[in-house]
């Protein structure tokens, strides 16, 4: 049983090790600077510049966080500070369902609604032409997907704040909103940052939904209406060919390794902060 318990740690290390070993050839044959900052992607010539993919990943994630965070924060504050228990009971399945809907369904929904709206209604005001399969479409779909995660963790962070502190503020004559603004938000700042970091790491790795709406075009997107090509989509789209081109397999595994390392670091950091918050509230 102890062996099994060590299984989790072993799997974590094993994934890192396997991906690292497979990506070694890419790291050896390419200048590290070129790998990260150039975007010439020519697998047949052995040129692997991840610039466009990394940029796309960051761009889509940025849009998703900017769109998801404000409503998620407002919703979480309402649920933890204002809502009656009936409202909470009615609303919690909403969050559960949103987080339970599979990525591929979000992808279908995105191609049916977001993509045509962007290409027909929104993009003509700004650019000459857009298919709708774009950075913005990816960002919107991703925003909805990470929203339930942000809401549920923020509610946990807010409820970890002791009741006494709220009552102290209220009894000094502060209104409820003043209490929220000056006490709750201030107190939970580290928790909020940790939540955002966790959401960012979730957004980095999302594959199918983003792949279905972002266009998958290997070039640096000039505007939010251009197609883009995030790292997970790159891996998912090319696994079929990767065995037939020398060096390609290693390059894709490097992409997976990159995702793995960044996500592990982000996750570990934010989880440690959230643990401490939970522990402090219990003692």
């Amino acid at each position: 049983m102890m062996g099994l318990s060590l299984f989790s740690i072993a799997v974590l290390l094993l994934i890192g090790l396997v991906l690292f070993l497979y990506s070694l050839p890419t790291l050896r044959d390419n200048n590290t600077f070129h790998l990260f900052f150039t975007s010439s992607w020519k697998p047949f010539k052995g040129e692997f510049g991840f610039g466009a993919f990394i940029y796309s990943t960051l761009y889509v994630t940025f849009i998703a966080i900017v769109m998801a965070f404000p409503p998620a924060l407002l919703c979480a504050l309402y649920m933890s500070e204002y809502a009656t228990s009936t409202v909470k009971r009615v609303f919690s399945p909403v969050i559960d369902l949103l987080s339970g809907i599979p990525p591929v369904i979000y992808g279908v929904w995105g191609t049916l609604t977001i993509v045509p709206v962007i290409s027909e209604k929104l993009a003509p005001h700004f650019v000459d032409f857009s298919t709708g399969y774009s950075v913005l479409a990816g960002g919107v779909v991703l925003a909805i997907m990470i929203l339930p995660l942000i809401v549920s963790i923020l509610i946990e962070v807010f409820t970890a704040i002791p009741k006494g502190i709220r009552e102290a503020s209220l009894s000094l004559g502060a209104t409820k909103w003043q209490t929220v603004k000056k006490v709750i938000l201030k107190k939970s700042l580290t928790g909020i940052v940790a939540t955002v970091v966790l959401a960012v790491s979730r957004a980095f790795g999302e594959t199918i939904a983003v792949l279905m709406v972002c266009g998958n075009f290997t070039d640096i997107p000039q505007s939010v209406f251009d197609a883009c090509y995030p790292l997970p989509a790159l891996i998912a789209n090319n696994y079929g060919e990767m065995m037939s081109i020398p060096g390609y397999e290693s390059a894709l595994m490097f992409a997976a390794f990159l995702l793995f390392i960044i996500i592990v670091i982000f996750n570990a950091g934010s989880r440690l902060v959230l643990y401490r918050i939970k522990k402090n509230s219990q003692s």
Binding site: S8, L98, P103, V104, G107, I144, T207, P232, A236
Partner: protein
Amino acid sequence: MIMKKLEEKIVKALMIFASVTILMVLLYILYIIISKGLPSLTWDMVSKNPSGGFYLGKEGGILNAILGSLMLIAGSVAISMCISLPIVLYINFIRKKDSRFSNVVRFSFDILFGIPSIVYGAFGFMIMIYFGLQASLLGGIIAVSLLIIPIMTRSIDEVAGSVTQDMIEAPKILGATKFETVKVIVRQISPGITTAILLSVGRGIGDAATVLFTAGYTDSIPVSPMQPAATLPLAIFFQLSSPIEEVQNRAYAAALILTIIILLLSFSTRYFGRKMSKSKL
């Protein structure tokens, strides 16, 4: 003073607006999936395999994908249960609940939980190549197990944490062996185990990125674990990328089937969750 009251009102209105918007987004997603999928959802869709010319819009259904997904998830849940349950029992009842070791294990599962399914898929694929395995039901089961073990462990662990010391000691005092004590505990947390299974099924059955590499895709129902297996998310994904309208419509119908499964799972999770809170666990 008026400003104070006004600010309060505005912010509260904004909060309610944000919450209602989130609710509306969910309803809108469900509405689109249902209204698009329902017209193409026929009995043939769920009762037949794809026949010749299916991907050109001819006869057939996606029974292969539905059964493939069910086999895949059944195998994965069985494997991950055999790994998760002993771990949870060990870190809660054999070691102390809040010992350093238990917390390190919990922490590593939290990190595993955050790893995206595409990384599990790529990792599983590399392992399969190493052992010379083809894309198969077995490969898919292994990759999906890796994906759902963290979910299962975390959610059983949450329930196990609420078992009180009395409940562990009572059977011991009555002269029960360690094994019998474990049986009592497992029975106590069984509603929690049900919830954990439902959660894992929901996550595993809808995930496309893990099975994309590992399980492959086929038009027939797999009869051995070494054969490739079709899965629902991939059936949706592949059919949607077809230029033919009938095939795309089938993708919408398949999406509706998957959504119905997820809704049923979600409602049963709620039902069992409520049952558990009634028995004061």
